[in-house]
């Protein structure tokens, strides 16, 4: 770790923790409908929306109706994104005449964006029309973020209320988060991004005459467009001269803002936040990193505020911060190591592992970004994780395996962490032989069943999916790198999908019917297989009586609880994966440093 890296990490944490509290309280006020300037300004628009939609905002829902509303809203989203991709050739805002996307790829992308995963099997600038990007993908960036946030708000209400039948109105919650939190911040953020160089236009791709003519070898094609082969059956290549460069354009900034703020992570372009038009300067990179953790960090204090004890929120935030620092330092440390195989060739090791990284970001800003984007279920990348050192690449993989609860996705991170908190008090209760309780709510069999489902569904999807993929030809066919790294690519894909992260060891050729379908299953059940039990949990908790704090109550705001929670997350969350990790990055690390 260089001094620069420490300074970067320190500045990042200082700013994040400084804004978390006021912003968290703002979100709490909005979601509780307390009189505030924002609600007054937007009140007219909001009421109009409710009138048009036939929504009675004071009519609350029980957990089942809440869950049905969320599911319905998301299924509609999936249909819309699928439809836009399948019809884009005939729709407006398609200056490059992008053809309709194949059914399996459209299906995968629809599920991917609705579940806040933003796994991308396609190359954005060569596949999607501007309309698909802004009305399909970017809209889901808003809606999937809103979905995650309202689910955790419902869970928090479960703790905050007692003997209640309802947990809120899903329509009102979705509307308020979108109108008062996501939209205004995105607007300011997007304009800032343009100021730094992120593009925002609807022009056709620009043809520019480059300084030097690029010459490259390409397979020679005959009149029918088939590759020409010589007498031995080898493909014939010819040298092609390319005097121009075609610059991809589009409404990028507006999508980039919500992509980061909503921990979505789906790039407008294939290279995602490594692309200079998406992330042009180190400052945009810093702000992008901040905006990934902004809402997840704030929500911990929204939680503290809504349950009436800020210390509960700080305890969760402390847990997250400690785990984050360890992972960030690890990633930056290993990426500072040069690849020993390249050093042997005469490459200067001073700069570290630069394959797949951008010069303007270098090692520290790339290692930190990789940690943040995988701890939060964002999945945007500013460097190619596939080319990280084995242990540098281990960090993103492990981060996702923690279950996306260390900050995590917007909303999803906190509800995941609260599920682990219940697990922690349950384990502590077993140790001392008392009925576990959390925030005045008794944790009983039904709650523990929901907690178990929420915790176990992702490892099941990851490990079963990976096992199937390595056993069938269609799965193995996608591997790009030989040896242990190839296994890591598949493991990474299913880990990313089931945890709704969306980053990739992108060498894997995943735009095939096999991976498109398998990963869609992992994404959908990794998302809603957790949301439904969490909402059931919210309903059950809301219905319970609140019990008074007694001498036998374990405090859940002190260092003891933080340590217990860290232990639970690491042991329960990640131990499932140790054998798989040993076969992938660990083997690769040993091979690289033994000079094999």
């Amino acid at each position: 770790m260089t001094n620069h890296a420490w300074l970067l990490l320190g500045a990042y944490l200082a700013i994040l923790l400084l804004v978390a509290k006021p912003f968290g309280i703002y979100i709490a006020n909005i979601m509780e409908g307390r009189p505030s300037l924002a609600l007054r300004l937007g009140g007219g628009t909001e009421s109009l929306l409710y009138r048009l939609c036939g929504i009675r905002k004071d009519e609350e829902m029980g957990w089942l109706n809440y869950a049905l509303a969320i599911l319905l809203f998301n299924v509609l989203g999936a249909l819309a994104v699928y439809g836009l991709q399948r019809l884009q050739l005939w729709l407006p805002l398609n200056p490059q005449a992008m053809t309709n996307v194949s059914p399996d790829s459209s299906f995968n992308t629809a599920v991917s964006f609705v579940t806040n995963t933003n796994w991308q099997g396609y190359v954005g600038e060569a596949t999607m029309s501007y309309l698909t990007q802004m009305l399909g993908l970017a809209v889901q960036n808003f809606f999937s973020a809103a979905t995650g946030i309202v689910v955790v708000i419902a869970l928090i209400r479960g703790f905050a209320r007692h003997t209640a039948k309802t947990i809120g109105n899903a329509w009102v919650d979705l509307t308020r988060i979108t109108l008062y939190v996501l939209l205004p911040i995105s607007l300011v953020y997007a304009v800032f991004l343009v100021g730094q160089g992120v593009i925002q236009n609807f022009d056709a791709y620009k043809d520019v005459t480059t300084v030097e003519v690029t010459k490259y070898d390409a397979p020679k094609l005959d009149a029918a467009g088939q590759p020409v082969k010589d007498a031995k059956g080898n493909a014939v290549t010819e040298t092609v001269s390319q005097p121009t460069q075609i610059l991809a354009m589009g409404p990028v900034a507006s999508q980039e803002a919500i992509k980061m703020l909503g921990t979505n992570g789906g790039g407008f372009f294939n290279a995602n936040s490594a692309h200079p038009f998406e992330n042009p300067t180190p400052l945009t990179n810093f702000i992008q990193m901040l905006s990934i953790f902004l809402i997840p960090a704030a929500l911990t204090l929204t939680f503290g505020r809504m349950v009436g004890d800020m210390r509960q929120g700080w305890a969760v935030l402390t847990t997250m911060t400690l785990l984050f620092v360890v992972m960030a330092v690890t990633a930056m440390y290993f990426e500072h190591q040069a690849n020993p195989l390249l050093t042997q060739l005469g490459v200067d090791p001073a700069m570290g592992n630069m394959e797949g990284k951008e010069t303007r970001f270098g090692i520290a800003d790339s290692g930190l970004f990789a940690t943040i984007t995988t701890l939060a279920s964002c999945g945007a990348v500013n460097a190619m994780h596939d080319s990280f050192t084995p242990m540098g690449g281990f960090v993103p993989l492990w981060n996702m395996m923690l279950g996306e609860v260390v900050f995590g996705g917007v909303g999803t991170g906190l509800y995941g962490m609260l599920v682990f908190a219940i697990m922690a008090v349950f384990i502590a209760g077993l140790m001392i032989g008392r009925t576990p309780e959390y925030l005045g709510k008794k944790i009983e069999a039904y709650e523990m069943k929901m907690v178990s489902i929420a915790i176990l569904v992702t490892p099941l999807l990851v490990l079963a999916g990976t096992a199937i993929a390595v056993m069938v030809d269609a799965g193995v066919a996608g591997i790009a790198n030989p040896g242990a790294h190839g296994f890591s690519e598949i493991l990474y894909a299913f880990t990313s999908a089931a945890n709704n992260n969306g980053s990739a060891f992108a060498g894997l050729s995943a735009n095939t019917p096999f991976y498109n379908v398998m990963l869609s299953i992992a994404m959908w059940f990794g998302r809603f297989g957790v949301i439904v039990p969490v909402l059931a949990l919210a309903g059950a908790l809301a219905a319970k009586k609140r019990i008074a704090v007694s001498a036998g109550t374990m405090p859940t705001h002190g260092p003891l609880f933080v340590v217990l929670l860290i232990g639970t997350v690491v042991l329960v969350g990640a131990l499932n994966y140790v054998p798989a990790l040993a076969l992938g990055p660990v083997v690769e690390h040993l091979m690289l440093w033994s000079g094999r």
């Binding site: 300074l7 925002q200 490259y216 460069q245 294939n270 490459v347 990348v381 500013n382």
Partner: protein, 192 residues
């Protein structure tokens, strides 16, 4: 369930219009007024014609120019409509071979240079469009460019420092040299 369908559909449509049409158009409108050049791609115009973007690298293989980061885009390097990295793992023999080839090309263009090769000059960038190289990578090429163009070394070094950007706010990112801007400046210097 039925009572949920109408609000679901109408709210979905309404919020889609707000976030999917009004919002991006508003950003476009503001951007056009406040930051028109950046919104259009930070284009560099020479003699009235765009020759590239200040943010997007171009391919340079002529030894008279500074070379940028290797680019893994297909089918040609620096394809600005199909960005991406190599995604080669650290142990992949294809990576080792590629780096070996790039070192050989550098040495062939500049046989006398025995300095260690800066890593960014022989490893592919993440986007395949990286407009920058490190200061070390620029220094590594100074002798070659100066010799082939018949320029003083100090003159070339001055151009490098003119086109060097420091860490933003003193602690963000890395010090870097914009290759396209540097090469355009070189051409201007040569042509009186």
């Amino acid at each position: 369930m039925q009572t949920l369908i109408r609000p679901a559909v109408t709210l979905f449509v309404m919020l889609s219009v707000v976030t999917g049409i009004v919002y991006p158009l508003a950003v476009t409108g503001i951007a056009k007024v406040v930051f028109p050049d950046q919104a259009a791609g930070s284009l560099i115009v020479k003699d009235g014609k765009p020759v590239g973007s200040a943010l997007i690298g171009q391919n340079f293989s002529d030894p008279k120019y500074f070379w940028g980061r290797p680019s893994a885009t297909g089918p040609m390097p620096y394809n600005a409509s199909a960005s991406g990295g190599s995604n080669l793992g650290p142990l992949n023999p294809a990576l080792i071979d590629a780096v070996k080839g790039r070192i050989e090309a550098l040495k062939a263009a500049d046989p006398g240079n025995s300095a260690p090769v800066p890593a960014d000059l022989v490893t592919a960038s993440g986007s395949g469009l990286d407009p920058h190289i490190s200061q070390a990578a620029a220094e590594y090429q100074v002798m070659r460019v100066a010799r082939l163009r018949g320029l003083q070394i100090s003159a070339v070094q001055r151009l490098i420092s003119d086109n060097t950007e420091n860490r933003q706010l003193g602690f963000l990112g890395e010090k870097r040299v914009n290759v396209l801007a540097l090469n355009l400046a070189l051409d201007r210097l040569a042509k009186p």
